[in-house]
Symmetry: C2
Subunit: 167 residues, 2 copies
DNA sequence: TTAACCATGTAAAGCGTTACATGATTTC
DNA sequence: GAAATCATGTAACGCTTTACATGGTTAA
């Protein structure tokens, strides 16, 4: 999947690995984020397979490797984009812990839920900030995903709050 | 995390790897599920580190390796259970695709959303079936997680439906 | 001048899936 | 007699993170 996300970013404009990472942090980070140790080798691989091309430039004394998507890269990306998605798993560590909550006492249950609610609040603020940075020019689908992210964490907050209140 | 989930299952009762897998399918599968290729080596590792003990029995001509949690295993599990959870990512492939929806036409957008809504409906049915199997004796927290799972997928369904209707 | 940011990359380790491999029992 | 289920495991592969490693520029 990650190769296709990189190709997706490069479909919008040519970028360096560093820029892809920064872009991700300000857009997809709440549903997809990764490290440089993943990005750079992926770009090399995509270059080797002909899905992107590279242009080297020296900007401010620093080597910049700008990657551009090729037509085969666009094909690969669109093929992925048109493929049906598998159902997503929740994979929420906090939920996994609730599954085993019978092994904790109420005091510890409360503490954990309260801690997690704080983190959910922080995450909602982060996403609202991302949304705030978006200008009118930004692709409506990118705005939509951030809005869905905000709604998702608000939903989670309500769920965990309800459990806390029932204790 | 997986080691701790195995320990969590073994805290309830001693089990074989096969039973752990079956138990997971009927309880945690929507937020955590894994393969035999993960379970068996994990049990070996936990045995080597003294967190579980093994008892071999032959039942119906088949070798059964029943694993029991030790006190050090319980300590490890509880330590994990009491640790604050990191915020969960959404990691939903369908959402990732919406992020790149500007590269598809409306017809294809609709098809994908409709396909995914079908999968969400199926998943809700699966979880309702799991919940239906639970008797009164089942730990209330295990019931609660399934209920949260159902609510989660219903919430997702509403979100995707809204996007579809706006098209 | 020092911290933050820009920019690139490698190596090792961790985590997990898929495919392969075996063989018994039970149910239709 | 065939298919499903019970039961165990290994090997190869793939994906991703973490830690390590380098070095320039810009802002406080």
């Amino acid at each position: 999947m990650f190769e296709n996300i990189v190709l997706g970013f490069l479909t919008d404009k040519s970028m360096t690995g560093y820029e892809i990472k920064k872009n991700m942090e300000n857009s997809t980070s709440f549903f997809y984020n990764t490290s440089f140790g993943n990005i750079y080798p992926t770009l090399k691989k995509l270059e080797a397979s002909g899905h992107v091309t590279r242009e080297d430039e020296i900007i401010n004394g620093k080597l910049n490797k700008s990657y551009t998507i090729t037509s085969s890269g666009k094909d690969k990306f669109l093929q992925w984009l048109e493929t049906e998605s598998e159902i997503g798993m929740i994979r929420d560590e906090a939920l996994t812990k609730i599954f085993f909550f019978s092994h904790l006492d109420n005091k510890k249950r409360k503490e954990e839920l309260q801690d997690y609610l704080l983190k959910l609040n922080k995450q909602i603020e982060v996403l609202k900030e991302i949304k705030g940075k978006y200008t009118d020019k930004v692709d409506k689908w990118k705005v939509k995903t951030v809005e869905m992210g905000i709604d998702y964490y608000i939903f989670m907050k309500k769920s965990y709050k309800k459990i806390l209140e029932e204790l």
